[in-house]
Every structure is written in C-alpha cells, then in structure tokens.
C-alpha cells in the first residue's frame, strides 16, 4: 500500500498578499516530483501548507484519502510525511546522532525505546554518510553538513513522502553531483516519495520524473522535465520575454 | 434616582481620572516599548526605573524644593545616562555582533534584567527605607459642574502626550529615528546603510530610560503617597499589559493601551473594587495575546 499526498486547489493569503492561487499538486510514495519557480513564487508556502505548518485559506490537503489540512504538523509527520527547512534548523546543543534520534522517536516509526531509536539513527547516519560525525555537536557542523543532517532527520521520522525545501541550493558543481548521487542512492534504498523544491533547475530536472512550475503563486506548467523546459511560459518566467521569443 | 446620579457622577469622574492616569501609564509604557521594539529586550527592571524616577522627584523636592513637574527633565537626563550605562554594562555583551536577535538572546536579557530588578528594588529598600513617601503638591483644581479635577493631573497627562508625540516625530521624521527603525527591523541592512548598530541600540536604550524616569516623576503628582521601593512591582506588569495591548514597537499603541488600562482600573473599581479592577486589567493581556498577538490596533 503506497500513500499519496495531494494539495487540491489550494489558496493561501497573508494579509493582503495572495501567496498561492488555486495550486494543485500530488506526490505518491516512490515518485520524485520537482517543484520549481523563481524566488518568492510560493514554493515554500505550498510546502508549509502540505506539512501542516500553515493552514490553507481555501482548498484542501489530502493524505492517503483523508483531509489533513488544519492538522498540526506533528500529526502529519505521524502519518508519514516529513518536511525539511530551507535553512537547516538542527538542535544546536545536541549531537548529530541525538538530532536524528529525536526524529526516530517521534516520527511515524513509533519506536518508543531510546536505545532502539539510537540504533535506527545510526543506520540513517550510515546511509547518508554522516556516521563519522555522529558524536559531533550540531553547532559545530558546516552549513552543507547541516543540510545533510536535515535530510537525515526527515528520513529518520520514517517518512514515506518527503517535502524537501532547497536541499541542493548553494552547492558547488562537484558537491551538487555528489549530493544528487547520494539522494538517488537513498531514494532507491528506501523508496520514499519526494516533492523537491528548488529554484536551481538542473538538479530537479535530473532527479524528477514529473515537474511542476509555479510563478507568483500560480501553477504555470507541469509535465516531464523535457516538456517543462520547452514550455514557453517557463522560459519566459525564468529568462524573460526576449528569450521566450527567441526560443520559439 | 439619587443613587443613579451618584453612580453616573462617579463613572464620569473615574473616566476622567482614568484618562489622566492612562496618559501617564502610556508614557511609562513607552519607555518599555522603545527597548522592546528596538533591541527586542523586555526589561524586567522597568518598574525599578519608574521607582527611581519617582524617588528622583521626591529627593529633588525634599532637598532643593523643586516642583515635581520640573524634576522630570532632570530625571530624564539621569535616565539617559542610566540607559547608556545599562546598555554597555548588560545588553552589549549579549547583543553585539548579532545579525538578528533570537529567542535565546531575548531570554538571556529577560533573565539578566530580572536579576537587576531584584537587586535594585531591595537596594532601594535599604537606602530609602521601606516607608511610603510622597510629594506635597497642589496646583489647584478646576471645577466643571460637580466635578473637581486636579490641575496637576491635567498637566502631567498633557505633558505625557506631548512627550509621546515628540518621540513619534523623532522616530519617524529624523535621521536618528530612521536609523533606530532600520536597526529594529533588519540589522545587517542597517549596517550596510552605514548605521552603527551599537550606537543606535545604546541611544535607543538611553531614550527609553529617560522617558521612563520622567514618567516616574509625573506619577508622584497623581499618587500623593505612592512612592515606595517596591512600587515597580505594580508598574512593570501594567507596562507589559499596555505594550502588548498596543503592540510592541508601536508608539501610538502605548497611548491606546495606556488609556484602556487607566479607564479599566479607574472605572472598574467603582463597580468591582480595586482588587478585581486590577485583576481584570492584568488579565486583559491573555485574550489580546490569543486573538490579536500584534496588538489591538489594526
């Protein structure tokens, strides 16, 4: 039994600003979906709505056939969906292993015993290649390692679908290649579904089977990576009108 | 019928007194609001500043015969010095070099000022003795029908509103004000514009202390025998409620919050008694935080 999370006709208003207008998107377990769009287009807001951090102003979030919008974030995690933060938020005073252990203890695995949870945490750290830093304080980790830890914590909740907010941002080309290799490896190993938010396109296009593009809170295109890059709307949003005219 | 007219008279008098008191409350809360809004520091020793302002007025009156209204500028000057000292002795250590003031920093300064509050009030208790004292001051009163309104109360209320307005102008129309507001919103951006964050935070804190101590001096005219080392324990929570009501960082909010509290306390005690009126005033904070965490304005 695989699960699916879907945002259906979601609107989100902050004061006078309409951050999302009528956006629908769905991700199934095992599937990698890319969500791209310029800065400020509403990507993170959509992720927050799906993760239960924000309530949609209108529309629904459906997980495994049940409405989950309005549920607090931890209930969504309990049901197998976990989100990472764009800027990693590790528990700075705790070790890398303890950070991941929290996720294992409170996620959807329902491991109640700290010993067993630590065991799980170590497995996850192995998988993402952080086992060497298990005992390091999170405060001592570099930004890139913190991003990896953020990813590891989300996995350790036992999530079957991950909502990943810009985990590939700010990497050098070499680091990006390595990160994509790691992501694909872990994804194949565990088989989770993922909604991958990026504003850098190449990473998303390599790993996603389906891509959705939003601009100013509106969905402007959706399809396979190769369809999306040829879409005039997308070219315009990313490169401006001139480029769009030149491309057609 | 006679009963009803007595109650009406009481309510009108309570309303007027509440408005006068509310203006001074607003001034006192403005001092808290400034530090809160600018440096994200909730000064638990705020009540002790009010107390020191009141004692400043008392001693200047006792030894030099100053009119309590004239003691306010001297108090304000002392407050400015105290604020600068406080910034560099206590806050600078925690705030320097910070790009944003985190919850952790807020808690550090909260606890640090809590310790100060404890030390200052008890030091004052030893230095000034615990007796209630006051300033004999009667500026006469005006009569409107059956109402007698003390002129001193009107003076301090008007002066309080003037000071609040001037602060508003300072923050919104001057270079220093722009710098202070820039600092309070985005420290790195303020730095890029050439603003020295330490100078701005220190001056803001000095300004806040000056206003608070002047407010303490004004209070002495409203409460003839209300000066006591522990009086801060009342004015600090009143100020917290006012700032939350008006919204931290909003100067006019302090006036709205101050008037609300003044009226609730002075009209409320006619019907509920002093204890419950104050309890209601304090508990106003809870629904406001639940329903309008940004304050009741807008």
């Amino acid at each position: 039994m695989t699960i699916t999370i879907a945002a259906v006709e979601v609107h989100k208003r902050f004061g006078g600003v309409l951050a999302l207008r009528d956006v629908s998107i769905s991700v199934a377990e095992g599937q990698v979906v890319g969500l791209i769009g310029p800065n400020g287009s509403g990507k993170s807001t959509l992720l927050n709505v799906m993760a239960g951090v924000e309530r949609p102003t209108a529309g629904r979030v459906v997980l495994d056939g049940k409405r989950v919008d309005g549920l607090p974030a931890h209930r969504i995690v309990e049901r197998g969906v976990a989100k990472t933060h764009q800027i990693p938020r590790p528990f700075l005073g705790m070790t890398t292993e303890d950070n991941v252990t929290v996720a294992a203890l409170y996620g959807s695995w329902k491991v109640r015993d700290p010993g067993a949870a630590r065991e799980q945490a170590r497995k996850v750290l192995n998988l993402i290649g952080l086992d060497g830093q298990a005992d390091a304080l999170a405060a001592s980790l570099t930004v890139q390692t913190r991003k990896r830890l953020e990813f590891g914590r989300a996995i350790a909740t036992g999530a079957r679908i991950l909502l990943l907010d810009e985990i590939f941002a700010g990497l050098s080309p070499d680091e990006l290649r390595e990160a994509i290799r790691l992501f694909t490896h872990v994804q194949e190993e565990i088989g989770f579904g993922a909604l991958v938010v990026e504003h850098v396109m190449p990473a998303v296009l390599t790993i996603s089977e389906h891509v959705v593009v939003i601009e100013e809170g509106r969905k402007i295109a959706a399809g396979t990576p190769s369809e999306v890059v040829r879409d005039p709307n997308v070219i315009e949003a990313y490169l401006g009108t001139e480029a769009a005219r030149a491309a057609t | 019928m006679a009963d009803a007219s007595v109650i009406v008279a009481q309510v009108i008098f309570g309303l007027i007194r509440g408005i006068l008191l509310g203006c001074v409350f607003a001034l006192i809360a403005l001092g808290l609001n400034l530090v809160w809004g600018i440096a994200k520091v909730v000064n638990i020793a705020h009540g002790e500043l009010v107390m020191l302002g009141a004692y400043g007025a008392y001693f200047l009156n006792l030894f030099l015969g100053f009119n309590p209204l004239l003691t306010a500028p001297i108090d304000a000057a002392l407050g400015l010095a105290a604020g600068l000292g406080f910034y560099f002795a206590i806050l600078h250590r925690e705030l320097r070099g910070k790009e944003a003031i985190t919850l952790q920093s807020e808690m550090v300064t909260l606890v640090a000022t809590f310790g100060l509050s404890l030390a200052i009030s008890n030091l004052a208790n030893i230095a000034f003795t615990g007796n209630f004292v006051g300033i004999p001051f009667d500026a006469g009163s005006i009569e409107i029908g059956f109402l007698q309104i003390p002129l001193a109360g009107i003076y301090v209320a008007v002066l309080s509103v003037v000071i609040i307005s001037l602060t508003h102008v300072l923050l919104n129309r001057t270079y220093l004000g722009n710098a202070i507001r820039a600092y309070s919103q985005d420290i790195p951006a303020a730095k890029l514009m050439g603003i020295n964050p330490t100078a701005v935070a220190a001056i803001g804190t000095g300004l806040a202390f000056a206003v608070t101590m002047a407010g303490g001096a004004f209070l002495t005219t409203l409460f003839p025998t209300g000066i006591n080392p522990y009086m801060g324990a009342l004015y600090a929570p009143i100020s917290y409620v006012i700032v939350v009501l008006g919204g931290p960082g909003r100067m006019w909010g302090s006036l709205v919050g101050g008037l609300t509290l003044g009226i609730v306390i002075d009209v409320g005690q006619i019907f509920l008694g002093v204890e419950i009126a104050y309890a209601v005033a304090f508990l106003l904070l809870i629904p406001v935080l639940l329903l309008r965490p940004e304050g009741i304005l807008r």
Partner: protein, 314 residues
Amino acid sequence: MNFGRLLRSAPTLWGLAGFLVVLAVWGPWIPTFVLTLLINLLLFASLAYSMNFIAGLTGYVSFGHVVFMGTGAYAWGYVVGTFGWHPLAGIVAGAAVGLALALGIGSVALRFRGVYFAIATLVTALAARNIILVIPALGDGQGIILNLGFEPLTWFYTIWVILGIQVGLTYWVTHGRIGYGLRAIKSDEDAAKALGVDAARLKLFVFAFSGLFAGAAGALNVWTLSGVFPEPAFDLLFSLQMLAMVIIGGMGTLLGPLLGAVAVYLPHNYFLTVAVGAEFIVIGILVTFFALVVPQGIVGALRRYVPTLRGIIE
C-alpha cells in the same frame, strides 16, 4: 552486578539518593534548630525542582509560579481549617489544586513563546492574588489562622518524600523518550514539531508536574507557619527565588536545582537576622551574572571546565 552498572550509569542520581538516605536515617537525631533549617532548605530545593520541570526542561520561563504555591497553600488551609482534614491529606489537596490549575493555566499560557509566556504567567499570578483577597471563604484577605502545633519531624519527612519523588521524576523525564522531545523543544520548537514532537502536549505534561509540586510545597510551607495569609502565600518573591535557583544551579539539570537551592538559601538565611531584603541584592546580582556570563549555571560550568566531572554530574 546489574546494580553496579546502574550505579555507574547514573552517578548523580545515586549521589542524590545517598544524600537523601543519609538525611532520612539521621532525621530523629538532628537537633531541632538544624532540623528547621533543613526543612527550609529542602523546601527551597523542592520549589527549585518544581520550576526546573518547566523553565529548566523546556526553556519556558515562568514568573508566576507562586500562583501554584499560593493556591496550594489556600487549598491546604481550607480543607484543614474548614473540613478538619489531616494536614497530610491537605498536602495532597494542595498538590491536586496545583495540578488542576497548572493544566488550566498551561493550556492557554503555553501557547505563548518566550517573553510572552513569562509575562502571561506573571499577570496571572498577580490577578490570582487579587481575586483570592476578596473571596469570603478564604478569609476575605485576612487569611486563615490555624493552630496545629510544632511538628518538625513530620514536616521534615513530608518534604523529604516530596523532594525524593521530584528527583526521581526529573531523572525519569530527562532520560527517556520524553527527554529527547523536551531537549528538542527547548532548542527549536518548530523544528521539533516538524519531526513529529507533540510540543503542546509535552509542555503541558511537564508544566502539570511543575504545578503539582509547587502546590504541595506551598501547602507544606503554610503548615510550618500554621496559617495562610495572602501576602506571604502569593509573594512574588517566591516565584523569583524559584527561578533564581534554577538559573544559578543549571537549567534542566538533575543536580542543578539542589545546588541552586543551597546558593539561594545561604544568603537568604544569613541576611534574615542581619538585614531583611539584603539577600535579594546578592541573589539578584548572582542571577544577572549567571544569565550573562554563565548561562549554563553551576552544573553546566562544572561540566564544561572540569572534564573529569563531565561523566559524573548531570
């Protein structure tokens, strides 16, 4: 063999247990004067552990904890004075009222973060005191006077039991699954929620313990005074002392509240006969110093600067 492993794995817990056992065995032979001092010290420690549950473990600083002490005290005075309950049963009533009140106040106030929580708890305590002042059944502001006699040994063992339970609970809460959740909340509540931690429930859970023990301690305190009066029962200085003890000793640690209680009780008791109120000058300066320079408290500082103690004290 298992016992030895347990001993090595939790030296602080066993140290505290040993300390309590020594006190219990020595109890009947302690001179009365020393006994009264010890009762007060243990009462301070109990209040510190109570505050530690919320301020220490979650970082939510409560200025209004005296409200639990005060209502616990009044509950004790009321059931003992009006219904003639045994004072020990009154302690249970005080604990129950503290617990109920903590659940009520906590379910609202714990929604507010940081300074807002601190202020909300402060005004709640002030309002509660004003309300108690006008309730006729609770003495109309005059208080309830009871004449129950001087029973230091009973008081001693009562506070001993309360403190023992608190130490055990603190260990249990910090070492299991809950401990991980609490540390996560204290570090970054939103990030904790994103990993599935039910922050609202966990906070209320420890706040309830906090209120329960403050209620029990408040009841015991007025038993030793043979009467309940609004001013001492709701004296905000109790809240502030509770906080001071936890800050000085080390927030969220197992040993810290006891060390903090000693650090606050010594000046408290010394100045009692020299200059009343002067103790708060010392305590206040200590709090400011610790907040700015040693935010991790005595226990944290020892762990940091004395490596050999790192594996021993917590």
